[in-house]
Subunit: 332 residues, 2 copies
């Protein structure tokens, strides 16, 4: 039997439920069976638990996009991995599980990372890589804004930019609370709260990573320099102030702006979007990016590990915007 | 007395009028006086002659953004240029003139270019540079679409990409007519007519330069690969088929799409705009880019030179989409 956490239907964090299912007997010739050590929790998991994520499968389902663990069985034609290898990987749903079977090209070795760090890496790494190195194409001298600077993605972004993003970067990081500023400063970046930023004259950004969505998008767009690029990846302002309400959800969605091409031309600016989870449709591409981990000197920020049986508490912790890095589920 | 071409009011090409004005007696200490040899004509000049360009000054005015010629006087504090220097430059309006006085930082030496080539370069070079090297940031292996491939901008883009854009580029160029395909092929690119392209399965572009505007934008957007960028610079489809009608103008403007950020996120794509003429507000920046001409091996495509007194014919020639490169006015 294997353990899983399922979302039986839309609801608050308490709705998450532990579940036991039979383990699959056989695995395909190009697949591997991984005994999961840790599963990463993403913001999207929470959005879909609330029933707000358009790409989610129908309820009930097992959420989860990333994990780390040990290969315990390999298919007859697998040559990249062997039993005993420590790996991390990405999966389109199903990550909150003590055992996962998936194609060998969806897992990669964890290298020098710990199993906790490895489970924290895939989604943040792929997002940051796609935002800065594929979409916006960071280069020497860029001025960059990161609006989710103290979470797992923000901290990994600093590490990637500092160790592989080019020279002479100027980076400003935003956080919801004064007490988290030290995290941003520890990466050599300038720290501001969201409200300090809105009231400041900071401008002339080459690249802005916007994860708040909603009304913040127009605010950030104004701060781009000509030829600057705003990359939008989420809607975290739904949880502004650590509390969600339906009014905030509706407000955020309604405040997502539309950009008229004629205005973009007159402003000499660009807007881009990223939803890395959509790219899990073609895992070969993402996994080829994950192999670029070695380009950087990374130490993913792990904030807190919850026993998988406490998944509800883990979700609640993230919703309350307490996290200073990745929140993980641990399997025994 | 100096000669100028003015647009007295909105109208057809015949409305353009030759005019004589007194030459300015004195020039400012940081300015230079240039005896103009050639003035470049841009698509925007025609749009503003039609009264459709929101940034145009009130009628009557002298259009023109680029020119080449000889420095015939320098202000007392000018040290970059001396009398007798051959230069090219950019000016926000006033370019259709046999003499131009402007700050020394708005002109640069023509180097190895002929005066015809030099007058053809500024606007196309700055546009192509900003599109490919600043906004989209071309790099090795990119697949690129250029939808205005046989005009001055398109041809200069090929030259810049081929000689400074990186290795292993795949470039597709579009043209309105079968007979112009050879121009595209001469740069080693794949040539297609606009309609062949729309009916083809060509896709997976990293960068698309869209100058047609209107409905073509959505068509091109579909052909981007994930993380790809569509850069919009104009609305040339107003003149599709070589004829303009008010219905086509209105249709083009209405068909300019708005992009919802949520859709950009789901598609993992970006849209950008460029209006280089807006950046003439800060000429220092543009001129610093113009000095990058030496990064490339360039030979601007000059299609046809009209005597300045035949400016109406020159405009008509462009409107009929006959041009295979830059169209110039010549001053005596």
């Amino acid at each position: 039997m294997i353990d899983q956490i399922i979302i039986p239907k839309a609801g608050k964090s308490q709705i998450l439920k532990a579940f036991k299912v039979e383990s699959e007997k056989n695995i395909a010739e190009y697949s591997v069976r991984v005994k999961v050590a840790f599963s990463g929790i993403n913001f999207a998991d929470i959005i879909m638990r609330l029933g707000l994520y358009q790409d989610a499968p129908p309820f009930p389902f097992v959420p989860g996009y990333e994990f780390s663990g040990e290969v315990i069985e390999v298919g007859s034609k697998v040559d990249r991995h062997k039993v005993g290898d420590m790996v991390m990987g990405g999966t389109k749903f199903g990550g909150y599980s003590s055992e996962i079977i998936l194609p060998e090209n969806q897992v990669v070795p964890i290298g020098h990372l710990s199993l906790e760090e490895a489970a924290s890496l895939p989604v943040s790494f792929l997002t940051a890589y796609l935002v800065f190195f594929e979409e916006a194409r960071v280069r020497n001298g860029d001025k960059i804004l990161i609006d989710c600077a103290t979470g797992a993605l923000g901290q990994l972004s600093f590490q990637m930019l500092n160790t592989g993003g080019g020279s002479d970067l100027t980076i400003v990081g935003l956080t919801s609370s004064e007490t988290k500023k030290e995290i941003i400063e520890s990466y050599g970046a300038k720290a501001m709260t969201h409200s300090e930023f809105i009231n400041s004259s900071e401008k002339d950004f080459d690249i802005i990573l916007n994860s708040q969505g909603g009304a913040s998008i127009k605010e950030h767009y104004k701060r781009l320099r000509p030829t600057g690029k705003l990359v939008c990846i989420g809607a975290s302002s739904i949880f502004e102030g650590g509390k969600r309400s339906w009014i905030k959800v509706i407000k955020t969605v309604l405040e997502f702006p539309k950009f008229n091409i004629i205005n973009l031309m007159n402003d000499n600016k660009g807007v881009m979007g990223l939803n890395v989870l959509r790219l899990f449709e073609g895992p070969e591409y993402l996994m080829s990016l994950l192999e670029k981990v070695d380009m950087f000197d990374l130490k993913p920020a792990v904030d807190k590990v919850f026993d998988a049986s406490k998944a509800s508490e883990a979700h609640q912790y993230i919703e309350e915007k307490k996290a200073r890095g990745k929140v993980l589920l641990k399997w025994n």
